[in-house]
Subunit: 358 residues, 2 copies
């Protein structure tokens, strides 16, 4: 099978170095070797989360932790901030967990604004909110710093933040922002294979979880914490993802965090400039474009499926043809992970060439 | 790092062929390529489960599905059959999910007998039971066929069976036995990397799940079924495990199922003969020894930790030094997965040599 490079926003291309680490021989998950491996990745993960709290690797997709956060932390009612496919779905998941939930819904592509959250929370009805920082389906980035400032007025409301596709592509300081749960998938900006998620939890959230009796086991935050104290995991982990993470954290240390963030921003700027120069529009509201992917509004009505087919045939790569209800009327270019700005420029050139052939 | 071959009962040694498949480049999980991959592994998985039902790959350890089964199927009270570390823990997990649960506890190493189950179920209190077919911590195999016969008298009681460490090492016919949920981990007899579980669900169980409103999303059996209808998964899957499974199913087809089962049985017989000849005893009650691993009672009081250390240094392999409260007073030899009987004889020879040096 031809290797098709993925410029769709996750899973994305995984480097050969990462794959070599990912396919190392198994070790016992209750062995000293595993403890050493798990301990070795802690400092790098804590640096990425800007936290003193332990960071966990969950053997699940991000949705596992997103559901887990609800089961661990919601006893009254959760406010779900909804602005795209994934944030909309979180509301459904809350109800499927038997939780009381209310919707703060805006149109896809519009940001969630702090004042809207404040108005809702002022009712006193809620003990948690869910927020997707970077809604991958629409390429929209919510104003996390401003929202975090509002959340500080409601210290009893658990602040659950999904950074699935922004994590490690930009600075998101967990401790400083006062977030209670923050999670990411490994197949996005970390450029690891799909199949695991990383997350961290505040002291306040542990205390809240302790009061909830039916929070379960597999995603029980207190079980993760207890096991992590001896560098262990509650259940048999995907050891391969730990190895891959270790390799990736080496790469990140070698590049330097600031350089990594600057590269992601530069990739975004180059892509945004291309969007404007070619007469396309952005799907997200201006000023709220994601840094790790660009969601382009297909105002020129190009045949996105055919574009992608040409990219695949001629250049062994694909972008994304739009998610769910905005498929075809939008398309998405991922510029996260290991991609250099040169790579992104090359991709944009390829897209130009293919569009010319449509 | 030296490659240490694992003869501990999971994770076990993963072949180079499997690892090559495991580390194939990522594909989009909402792509036609993924649908093709997922569809391709269905027939082989259904053959292993002896079922016409769809078989799912859960991106989680087996515990995820074990918890999921409780959340999907228990509305009244679950009877937990307990005879070792994992089956004991399932009772705790049920309580952590807020479920009513009762214990059918026997001593570690003793089997769960059908008449004990029948007596409990006759009370009418229960709508589900959990049974670990092959309790990995003690190397004890419960009499599944006889238990299944009893379960047929209680058609309204969901029959949840963990075959984590016996699956694919012997015939366990899901449809014929009338099991409602059956699951396995990929890191046991399937000899894949840790990080995923496979499971299947009966029609009766789907109907029961539909009546339970707080069963959640990540492990919602109805979500798995709905998505599988278009060869999809509810959430981003560990694509690498699908590739590894595809490779393993090829291996299994090439060997032939009957040959595979015969090899596992022969490995067990050779190991059991060694146990008797060396004057060791079995930890499980006679007649209930596992086919995929042998748990040896350390009646000779050898220094198991030192034995394992010698095996590691001299032969780059390890067995298991006993689980939890029976650590040191028992030890476990895994003979599942890809191991030939010749490999097992070689291992037993190495153990002899190392014991002579203790």
């Amino acid at each position: 099978m031809t290797h098709i490079k993925l410029f769709s926003p996750g899973p994305i291309e995984v480097s050969e170095k990462t794959m070599r680490a990912f396919s190392r021989p198994m070790i016992g998950h209750r062995s000293k070797d595993f403890q050493t491996l798990n301990a070795a990745i802690q400092p790098g993960l804590q640096e990425l989360f800007f936290t003193k709290q332990p960071v966990f690797v969950s053997t699940s997709s991000a949705w596992g932790v997103m559901e887990g956060a609800l089961r661990n932390l919601v006893s009254k009612k959760v406010l779900c901030c909804m602005s795209g496919a994934f944030s909309d779905k979180w509301f459904d998941v809350a109800k499927k967990c038997g939780k009381q939930a209310d919707a703060l819904q805006v149109e896809w592509g519009q940001p969630i604004l702090p004042e809207a959250i404040e108005a809702k929370l002022a009712t006193g009805e809620f003990d948690a909110i869910t927020l997707i920082h970077n809604e991958t389906s629409t390429g929209t980035m919510n104003p996390l710093t401003e929202i975090a400032a509002v959340m500080k007025k409601f210290p009893d409301v658990m602040f659950i933040v999904d950074c699935v596709s922004s994590f490690s592509g930009m600075k998101i300081p967990f401790d400083e922002l006062g977030i209670d749960v923050m999670l990411a998938g490994t197949q996005k900006a970390l450029a690891l294979p799909a199949g695991a998620a990383v997350f961290t939890v505040s002291e306040k959230a542990y205390a809240k979880a302790a009061t909830i009796k039916d929070r379960g086991y597999y995603f029980d935050f207190l079980e993760f914490k207890k096991n992590q104290e001896s560098d262990m995991t509650p259940t048999t982990p995907s050891i391969s993802h730990f190895y891959a993470l270790q390799s990736k954290l080496e790469d990140i240390a070698a590049e330097g965090l600031e350089n990594r963030y600057a590269r992601h921003l530069e990739n975004a700027k180059v892509t945004r400039a291309w969007v404007k120069e070619r007469g396309f529009a952005f799907f997200p509201k201006e000023g709220y474009e994601s840094i790790t992917l660009t969601c382009v509004a297909n105002n020129k009505g190009i045949d996105v499926a055919k574009l992608n087919s040409l990219l695949k045939t001629k250049h062994s790569c694909v972008i994304d043809g739009g998610y769910g209800k905005i498929k075809g009327t939008s398309f998405r270019i991922s510029h996260m992970g290991d991609e250099s700005t040169e790579n992104i420029k090359q991709l944009l050139g390829w897209i130009d060439g293919c569009i010319a052939e449509l």
